[in-house]
């Protein structure tokens, strides 16, 4: 410890020995060669791409014509006056605000139950995980069928259970379409979150439970004072990644409802797609993408800040 703290400032003061660096670079030339396939693709489709998008967000461009006049902050100003943008933001918040907590709660419940060393743990895990690997298009097809008004499974079983009294048009009703998509989202996402929770649960040392037992904690207390607090880093990680994921999802919404009815399921990603690839307003669509980027950037920063103060055990 003492040596390293003494050494550190000394090394920092030392000027970079450029000759040595260049010699090393020449000696290790093949390292750069090894990185080049990755770097070329990364440079084009990530670095240039992100910069180009930023550039476009200050331009007006309909993709068909070469002219891309500079419009300054107009695209961003327009965003704040765009009722459709606000609606898409509200829809995204609804989708995320209900979908993420519901998905996390169901995943946590399943993970906690599976972690009691039940028989057939891996079978259950597989069954809950299947929706995650099911192709999005296929999930959309099945759920579209199940939500059908006249012969859909959902109406049949809800009627049978007496929870509804008439057949509902889930995806065509402006008030039901979003809840229907949220339920479907929970189905699609629970498995992935469950696996992360299981990993988090398995990382909690058995001794902590033993110690709690010696102290006379009952099952419920052990859950409240050992399991839940020690799962906090996992929960936080899962929360942020789920929100980020949820903010961007729109492909299944495209297939299920096409953003309707009455724009009630137009989420921000879908609105961006519409502006860019339906109305060919590439500049405006890029500005929408950057607003989404800003939101997600803030969330990621939060995550990094909190996860750094990791709970140690």
């Amino acid at each position: 410890m003492a040596i390293s703290t003494l050494e550190k400032p000394k090394r920092g003061k030392e000027p970079i020995n450029w000759r040595y660096t260049f010699r090393q670079m020449r000696k290790q030339w093949s390292a750069y060669l090894f990185l080049s396939p990755w770097f070329i693709i990364f440079a084009i489709f990530t670095l240039f791409s992100v910069g180009f998008s930023f550039y476009l967000s200050f331009r007006e461009w309909n993709i068909l014509e070469p002219a891309k006049p500079f419009v300054g902050l107009d695209n961003y100003i327009r965003l704040f006056q765009d009722a459709q943008f606000y609606q898409s933001l509200r829809n995204t918040l609804l989708f995320t605000g209900f979908g993420v907590p519901l998905g996390m709660a169901s995943a946590l419940l399943v993970a906690l139950l599976l972690n009691t060393k039940v028989h057939g743990q891996s079978l259950f895990r597989t069954l809950y995980y299947i929706p995650v690997i099911t192709p999005l298009v296929v999930s959309a097809v099945i759920w579209k069928w199940m939500y059908q008004g006249d012969y859909g499974l959902i109406n049949y079983y809800l009627l049978k259970l007496g929870l509804i009294h008439e057949k509902l048009l889930w995806l065509a009703d402006p008030n039901l379409a979003m809840p229907a998509l949220i339920v479907m989202g929970v189905w699609m996402g629970t498995g992935g979150t469950m696996v992360m929770y299981l990993a988090g649960l398995q990382a909690i040392p058995e001794e902590l439970y033993d110690a709690a037992k010696v102290d006379g904690a009952n099952g419920f207390q052990r859950m409240m004072y050992v399991t839940i607090p020690l799962l906090a880093p996992t929960t936080f990680y899962v929360l942020i990644t789920s929100i980020i994921f949820s903010f961007q999802s729109f492909a299944h919404i495209y297939i299920m409802t096409n953003g309707g009815p009455l724009g009630r399921t137009t989420v921000i990603g879908y609105y961006m797609y519409q502006t860019g690839f339906r109305h060919f307003e590439m500049g405006y669509a890029s500005a929408i993408a950057y607003i989404l980027f800003a939101i997600i950037f803030v969330l990621t920063m939060l995550q990094m800040k909190f996860v750094k103060g990791d709970v140690q055990y």
Binding site: W38, F45, S49, F52, T116, V138, Y151, T190, G219, I255
Partner: protein
């Protein structure tokens, strides 16, 4: 509820502590409850899926039964036959397979090569490049949608473009446009690197002293020792690319170049009433990823847990 079995263990481990009759009943009923919730949940989660498979074997008339028939009464393979007879469907599967296997091959090679370099070689700029690379992970995918579309359109000298990338459609509407942008992955490199870090340096240094080239060390030592990372990268990449719908949807317009997911989605739009064939198609579109998942599940779950743990 999570602790019922531990409670039981505790009771048996300390016989002097009185595990009363009522407590035993509590444990048993607690365990019963665990199974009931898990089974009900599993039924709900698999029901849509089971219904898809069942419906794919039912004649169209039976699919609309009320109450729904879960076990095909008039078992038939006609849906599959009709679906496969529709023009160009074999081609969709071929396209998807070409894309998925190419991307897997390229990613595993490029990712592991870059990862080996980051994990086991010492060269100026290594840490800076690596940190910069990780930093780009926080850029959400939707930001790339528009620029990458335009970049593909302007790849020089392809698809009728001149050297400045003007005039044609570039890599739009081509399989290579679906393959190359995903030929490397920062997540994949990160994951491989974490794994290769655990290979002892002595092993690598010994090979260096013996005069092995860096590529040979990578190819004959580092890569073979990274089996699980390789499996996870390959499986998740395959699944992702096989299942991807939106990028092909934007890029592809030639019917000959449709992938399975794109073809199926457009089939649904075009044949709104052909639910019987759509169900058969859905089963076929899911089968490859399902098989791969079931066979390599172990690596898959372990990999996801590791990415989650960071």
């Amino acid at each position: 509820m999570a602790v019922t079995t531990q409670e039981k263990k505790y009771a048996s481990a300390h016989p002097d502590e009185k595990a009363g009759f009522s407590k035993k009943i509590m444990n048993l009923s607690g365990q019963g409850l665990v199974y009931i919730i898990l089974i009900v949940g599993a039924v709900l989660f698999t029901a849509p899926w089971v219904w898809m498979i069942s419906a794919s074997f039912q004649p169209r008339g039976d699919m609309f039964n009320w109450p729904p028939t879960w076990w095909p009464e008039h078992f038939t393979l006609k849906n599959y036959q009709n679906f496969l007879d529709a023009a160009g469907i074999a081609r969709w599967f071929l396209n998807s397979a070409i894309i998925a296997f190419s991307v897997v091959g390229l990613q595993v090679f490029f990712n592991s090569l870059a990862a080996y370099t980051f994990a086991k070689r010492n060269f100026p700029g290594r840490d800076a490049i690596f940190i910069f690379m990780l930093g780009t992970l926080m850029i959400p995918g939707v930001v790339f949608l528009i620029p990458n579309y335009i970049i593909l359109q302007h790849i020089p000298l392809f698809g009728g473009n001149n050297i400045l990338g003007q005039g044609g459609h570039g890599w739009l509407d081509s399989l290579i446009g679906l393959i190359l942008p995903s030929a490397v992955s920062v997540w994949g490199i990160f994951f491989f690197r974490q794994y290769m870090k655990s290979i002892p340096d002595e092993m690598i240094d010994a090979a260096r002293i013996d005069g092995a080239s860096e590529f040979r060390i990578y190819w004959q030592i580092a890569l073979p020792l990274s089996g699980p990372a390789l499996a996870f990268n390959a499986i998740s990449t395959f699944t992702w690319n096989w299942n991807d719908f939106f990028w092909p949807f934007l890029v592809i317009s030639n019917p000959q170049l449709r992938t399975v997911q794109l073809g199926l989605a457009l089939y649904v739009v075009k044949n709104r009433t052909a639910w019987d064939q759509v169900m058969a198609g859905s089963v076929l579109a899911t089968l490859p990823v399902l098989l791969i998942f079931l066979i390599f599940q172990k690596y898959f779950i372990r990999g996801i847990s590791l990415t989650g743990m960071k």
